[in-house]
Structures are given as C-alpha cells and as structure tokens.
C-alpha cells in the first residue's frame, strides 16, 4: 500500500473537490463567529483596562 501525500502538502497534487454550497454556507457563519469571538475578547480586555485605569490608577493620584 502506497502512502499518498495529502493535497495540502504538495501544490502539484490536485485538491479535493470542494462542495461550493457547503463552502458558501460555512463562509456565511464563520467570519461572523470569528468576529464575535475576537470582538468579545478585545471588549473584555478594554473593559479590564478601563476598570483599572479609572478605578485604581486615577484615584491613586499623580506621582510625577
């Protein structure tokens, strides 16, 4: 039994046939999901920064 390289491993090999409908269906939700995940993570980070800046850093006063 010979071992065939996966299509992605070699540009000379033909890729698997892509089901255009399935791809279109995935592409409708994947960018939105990625945006929600990344946006949520960044929102949490920014909220944490704002909480520390406004509730901890500023009340402690200037040191300069």
């Amino acid at each position: 039994m010979s071992i065939q390289p996966a299509p992605a491993d070699s540009s000379s090999e033909p890729a698997d046939d892509v089901d255009a409908e399935a791809l279109a269906a995935a592409m409708r939700v994947v960018p939105l999901g990625a945006g929600v995940l990344a946006g949520g993570a960044v929102a949490l980070l920014v909220l944490g920064y704002l909480a520390v800046y406004l509730l901890v850093f500023l009340p402690r006063g200037t040191v300069g």
């Binding site: 945006g35 960044v42 006063g61 200037t62 300069g64």
Partner: protein
C-alpha cells in the same frame, strides 16, 4: 480551493478585515485621547525628573550621604525621603512617612540600574546611576507597604526590598533634627 471560490469570498474577507482594523483604530485613538486628556487636565504623567548626580561620590558627601538618608521634615513642613538603591539593598531598609500628606521621594543608585514600586500606590520608577529619580505621592492609609526592586540587578535581586511605614499623623513626630525613623515594633 479554485479560483472561482477565492473570487467570491475575498471581498467579504477584505471587508471584514477593514471593519476590524477600523474598530481597533477607534479603540487605540480613544485610549490615547484618554491618556492625553488626563495628562493635560489632571497632571497624570510618568515621573520624568532629569537631575544628574555623580554615582562615584554618591555616598561620600552631599544629599545622599549616609547621615542624610531616610525621612526628613523641612522647617516648612514638607516631607522628603531619600534612599539609595544598591546591590542588593535599599538604604535605609525602612522609611517612615505620614498618612495624608504630600511626600517627595528621591532615589539614586551608585552601581547598576534598579527600579522600585511601592505596593498599593502609583509610585513606580527606575533608578538609574547618574540620575536622581524623584516622585511625589500621598499615602492614604496607614500600615507597612512593601517596596521591592523591580529591575533585575544581579543575583541578589530577589532579596532587595524595603518597607515603607505609613504612620498616622499623630505618630509621625520628627526629632529636633527634623528626622523621622520607622517605629520599632
């Protein structure tokens, strides 16, 4: 993926990325605006005192001579703390400060770069040989605060720390020479 599929999805991916970049740009601009606004209206700046001093003669004479280290209350009532950061200790190891009064902290180093922070306050500065690091603060609550070196300065770095003892106003009593030491407990 074939060329046709790439052509269909690429504009949407580009639009999503541009939207993301726009959102991040807004966040960065808002953060910078907030920092600049507080710097201008409330004087919130990083400590930037540029004052030179000779590190070779630091401990021999002048402001940072041994007898001058620690807490001093001037005749006008202003409180100044002077300390040397050296491998691998702060001199003095304990500094007494009053609660609720503006305190000036001055540090210098005769050897390598050190740094310090005082826990629970915004005091946080580098101590660079050849310069005096100066910060001001007001301690709001009494108690002992840890002041560690936060810039790696050698093998003994982790042992390099001091205590800032915040005393209530009635316990902060300068001697006849205007000096205040940590209360013995």
């Amino acid at each position: 993926m074939s060329e046709a599929h790439t052509d269909i999805h690429e504009p949407r991916i580009l639009a999503t990325e541009l939207l993301w970049a726009f959102g991040v740009g807004i966040l960065v601009a808002a953060t910078l605006t907030m920092i600049v606004f507080t710097a201008l209206t409330r004087g919130i700046n990083p400590p930037s005192n540029v004052e030179r001093i000779d590190p070779k003669t630091l401990h021999l004479s002048g402001e940072f001579a041994e007898h001058n280290l620690g807490t001093t209350v001037a005749p006008d009532g202003s409180v100044t703390v002077r300390a040397i950061a050296t491998q691998f200790m702060f001199a003095p190891r304990c500094m007494a400060v009053p609660q609720g009064r503006r305190v000036t902290l001055r540090f210098s180093s005769p050897d390598v770069i050190h740094g310090l922070l005082i826990t629970g306050t915004n005091v946080n500065t580098m101590v660079v040989p050849g310069f005096v690091s100066q910060v001001h603060t007001e301690f709001t609550s009494t108690g002992d605060l840890l002041m560690p070196c936060h810039e790696y300065c050698g093998l003994g770095h982790s042992e390099m720390w001091a205590t800032v003892q915040v005393l209530p106003e009635q316990d902060f009593k300068p001697g006849p020479d205007g000096r205040v030491s940590c209360a013995q407990r």
